[in-house]
Symmetry: none
Subunit: 233 residues, 2 copies
DNA sequence: CGCTATCTTTACAAATTCCTTATAACTTTT
DNA sequence: AAAAGTTATAAGGAATTTGTAAAGATAGCG
């Protein structure tokens, strides 16, 4: 257990930020602080952390937007801090991609326990190596930062939703994904019944990536269940 | 829109349990309730859920112990509910393996958002390349996430009902299963009298998995009782 | 303001599974 | 050995899901 876990704290209040930094540091974490969402994303590039603790209300880029941006390129655990205990705010943050929500004021011990829980969870599921900016599987190659997709060495132009769907397929290659799962992942938790969307977009994706879209080779349908993505050799 | 996420609610207060069940059910989840830790573990065997919501204070086996036991055999998300807002309790629960801690009273919307967040996380971490859950018995090998079935090294293509039936057989290999039991498990509690369904589907399964379907070797008939599954060596 | 690109909604044909029914074969009991 | 009940098998039709095209709706941009 050499390598200490890296935690990125994002908060514009210097006082709270300092408390968090020292608290986390004394418990063996490697900590950096960013004052807003924009500089958080910059730091993220140079110094990829294992976990992010972010405030909600900030200048420049708030916590919600930060969650969404991070989720596009990474699956790392995000803990949101906020004074507001309103249910609606919590729901928004969690749906934006946060893994946990802690209401200020909070005890340092509780925060530390939640950090441990999130890191444990991330470690347990950490099969993949370094969170690379490029996804590769079979005939597919996706540059997550540039949002570029190529299939069998050919560039493909996708709309945002098509892109999200394909990324999810590639990240879960080989597994059967239910309609619910896919809809929840791409459209969000409130759209899990909209099977039509999925049919339409799977059709469009097939037209763009399959050699013969009427005889799919990559996106296979599992009748009555969902779809399975087979990236090729 | 078949496969819904399964949630196991563990609570000894019937009133709260009912609120949770209806709340979760109306949002599309497949829910079961257990009244204490011991029966929760039993249910877990027959009906493995995708997420557990458990109270902390219960007779028989409390929430903390349940977390530890579950963590020994699974990584599924666990959300702990409790009236106590004391920091120490939260820390204990999180360190026992809980992924989240919600203090009563709580809003249903918040709980639903936390459920979504945990399920999303679990979904995302079941990523490609990660070793998937595999059920093995004798000549049978079932990849639960890819929904792939192979018998004696040969891939077999099954429809959903056939698949459900076979999974149930494999999970209860060697035991005699009554018609009622099988119908209840695969078709649901309202179809326990529909013996015809079962005969038809057992026949189809046999055609697909038996070397000689007129002389079954795996799915054995127990006349006047039901069937027994023998997975081979 | 109109143009473009994307997403949503609708409608219908095609495909697949599930249910139903009919008949034959089998077990046990008398 | 016949009767009564149970189990096996095949095949047609019902019900649901899936594929596809195209028409509205919406948002961003010059």
């Amino acid at each position: 257990m050499n390598q200490q876990s890296r935690i990125l704290v994002v908060d514009d209040e210097p006082q709270l930020a300092r408390v968090l930094r020292t608290g986390l540091k004394t418990h063996g974490y490697d900590v950096r602080v960013a004052a807003d969402g924009v500089s958080a994303l910059e730091t993220f590039g140079d110094w990829p952390p294992d976990l992010v603790v972010t405030d909600l209300a900030m200048p420049n880029m708030g916590g919600l937007e930060l969650c969404r941006r991070l989720r596009e390129i990474s699956q790392l655990p995000i803990i949101v801090l906020s004074v507001r205990g309103e249910e609606k705010t919590k729901v928004e943050a969690l749906d934006a991609g946060a893994d946990d929500y802690v209401t200020k004021p909070f005890g340092m011990d509780e925060l530390l326990a939640r950090v441990r829980a999130q890191l444990r969870r991330a470690r347990d599921s950490a099969a993949a190596g370094a969170p690379s900016a490029v996804l590769e599987a079979g005939d597919f190659r996706i540059d997550l930062e540039a949002r570029g997709v190529s299939v069998r060495d050919g560039e493909v132009r996708l709309t945002p939703k098509e892109y999200d769907l394909l990324v999810y397929f590639v990240r879960h290659a080989g597994k059967v994904l239910t309609h619910r799962t896919l809809l929840g992942a791409v459209w969000g938790g409130n759209y899990t019944e909209q099977g039509e969307y999925l049919r339409v977009f799977v059709g469009q994706l097939r037209k763009k990536i399959e050699p013969d879209s009427s005889n799919p080779r990559y996106i296979l349908t599992e009748p009555w269940v969902g779809y399975r993505f087979n990236p090729g050799p």
